[in-house]
Symmetry: C2
Subunit: 419 residues, 2 copies
């Protein structure tokens, strides 16, 4: 086959009604891009036979690999098979393995199988079957007139699994691609996307293998490296070398890899260092501690915290002196430090962190919206206070404040308190 | 024009690389569906002139209203105008108002305008201009050979504003539609989607105006009613009547309208009833109180809470007796009630709510993952304890537990404590 130019067709009236976005096409395009397959068109069509055939005909004219998602289910509005049959006159047969799976499912549920469920086991004669480990309808690959047609269910998790297991290896072989592709994700925090781009500009411009892609996320930035080589080992060697170059430029901001999140990483570091932490939160209202506790095993690291949103709660629960509040206000260096110190003592942890500030919409104590103080206290008495001015609405300010707390802890765990 | 059949074309290589999903098409399809315009096709094409023209030709053959989003910007890979010109040979002219806006922008920024910025002011001769109040590139509507072409920028907020202000009214007029469309969203909690469907089945099947659509969401269910009438007043009358029917069937589960969320609603009810609340959270780890505090004005309703995730925190901060824990365990009726009672006292609120349970992955105290106790205590001594068994992973169990807390408070605020 000449160079692949792929088209992705999604079948389903719910897409045309705007009930869901075509996230399947986004995901699949990304997978194809990673293996060097060009996607030139996406199409979406409803559960209508004439229009489905129309879309298939259009695709056949302009693309040589056509991936169709959806319309393989048991109901009468699942028309993908019928549409392709109208185009090709290919006979349809029942696939015994898929049929067995469907029967088994109904036996297990002690339900009677209705006739329309047989539909899901029907495939085109001569098609290569794509096993569906997570569902009933198998997929198909059909080569015909210099075109490859791939049919997949529209259920995202079934589709994704089948693409990874079968479609990606198949297309790579079709592309004559003997190489191995390995990719790696580095996660950074504390550096803006544009600064990162400038610092890495030489690497980005002059490097083709591995390739580098930057992506801004809510929780910092991502660098994705993708290397091509004769073997996994060689691809990883390329990635290692390149990663070292990146580390020499922006290593201070890298906190993790792959699916790491900053809260997960901080939790891990606390575990490794056998340290415990508690939190005293005002404007963040529990956001910080909630993110820590979201991970299994958090109980070894934190007993919990105090959400002292109101001034009374700061006085009653955290034992902040009213005099301190009168003198400095609740949004101050002094209050933040005292909150961190007192929560450390009250919860008998090694470290305490506090958040106090103004999430808006209105200014407080004459200070502008976005003013936030974060303090980190170690039971030895060492401490750190950081004042930040955050932008955005109430939601952003609160989330950025909690994120900043994790960022500071990361820095400190790497340096001061970890011994 | 005969009945509209619309096609939505999104232009941008980033869509084909899988960097973003085509959420513009989803949103626009939804808007079209609401005004009774059928969308039969979506297409996505990259920043490539040949393929762009190919997609335009295909669309012209099968659709009579073609809405193109993206590719109107200042850079050389913005090719939508060039593509349409290749198809039609229509002359392009500079639109004075748009040009003035661009110049003004650069003057204000004290920056020099580069030549490519002029591109954004270029429109097809005779086109109806769609004003872009939020950006520089105007949109266009062009009627040609019984087809209507609509061109819009790809920036979501600009596109959405222009669709609402100009495209929707234009298409409704084109559809010969003199009627007004009004829609209303009802929000429900505490009832499953399938039960809801059964209870409303008569209404759903026999009603065409208003139409009814059910949608399951993370935080409960949504009913969307859409009515068509000669006037806003009549449409609202239809909605009122229908809403009454729905209320008579499932009124107990309706908590709000439109953009209401259950936490916002609960906060409102507390405010209205001049009641205050505090929370003692174990497995939810701050999720409950965080959702309350996420709303402006929360300070009138809650001073905060205690995240007593570890047993020590329950004893030290919440003053739970170790004897109680030894006898009943932390995941028990007794512990839940005591937590709710003590947080009410400690934070001097009218009501206290507590959450204790097992989020997993491992069972605790011989009780299975998903076991959750929620207690609500009123300072008068009245109280409620609810045991629920929640399914799902750690994330789901924690979020469902906090949601259940809001659901219980809603019920109680409607009945017992509100007087």
């Amino acid at each position: 086959m000449r160079k692949i130019n792929a088209e992705i067709i999604a079948v389903g009236t719910e897409l045309l009604l705007g009930q869901i976005a075509n996230t399947n096409a986004r995901w699949l395009s990304e997978q194809l891009a990673l293996i060097g397959v060009n996607t030139y068109y996406h199409a979406v069509v409803g559960d209508n036979l004439d229009r489905l055939v129309n879309v298939f005909k259009t695709a056949e004219k302009r693309s040589n690999v056509i991936i169709v998602m959806g319309g393989l289910g048991p109901t009468t509005d699942d028309l993908t098979r019928e549409g392709f049959q109208m185009l090709t006159n290919l006979p349809i047969v029942e696939e015994p393995e898929a049929m067995g799976k469907i029967k088994q499912f109904y036996d297990r549920q002690k339900m009677e199988m209705t006739e329309n469920n047989r539909r899901q086991a029907r495939i085109f004669q001569g098609a290569k079957v794509i096993t569906n480990p997570l569902g009933m309808a198998p997929g198909m690959i059909i080569s015909r007139n210099n075109h490859v047609w791939v049919f997949l269910p529209g259920v995202p998790r079934e589709m994704k699994r089948m693409v990874k297991d079968t479609v990606v290896p198949y297309l790579r072989a079709l592309n004559g691609d003997q190489t191995v592709i390995e990719s790696r994700v580095l996660r950074l925090i504390g550096i803006g996307e544009s600064t990162l781009e400038v610092k890495l500009s030489d690497l980005i411009e002059n490097q083709t293998n591995p390739t580098i892609a930057l992506l801004a996320q809510n929780d910092g930035n991502i660098i994705r490296l993708t290397a091509k080589a004769e073997s996994t080992e060689l691809a990883n060697k390329l990635l290692d070398d390149y990663e070292q170059k990146i580390e020499s430029l922006v290593g201070d901001y890298i906190y993790g890899y792959g699916q790491d999140t900053i809260d997960k990483k901080v939790l891990q570091l606390f575990k490794q260092n056998k340290l415990t932490i508690s939190a005293a939160e005002s404007l963040t209202g529990g956001l910080f501690i909630e993110r820590l506790i979201s991970h299994p095993g958090a109980s070894n690291v934190t007993p919990g915290g105090i959400v002292s949103y109101g001034t009374d709660a700061k006085i009653n629960l955290l034992n902040i002196k009213s005099r301190l509040i009168e003198q400095y206000g609740t949004v101050s260096n002094e209050c933040a430090l005292q909150m961190a110190k007192n929560v450390t003592t009250l919860l008998k942890t090694d470290i305490g962190i506090s958040f106090t500030g103004i999430a808006g919409p209105d200014p407080v104590e004459g200070k502008p919206v976005g003013t936030v103080y974060i303090s980190i206290f170690h039971k030895s008495g060492k401490h750190h206070i950081e004042k930040v001015i955050l932008s955005g609405d109430r939601y952003s300010i609160r989330h950025r404040a909690s994120l900043k707390g994790f960022e500071l802890l990361l820095k400190i765990l790497k340096n001061q308190f970890s011994t």
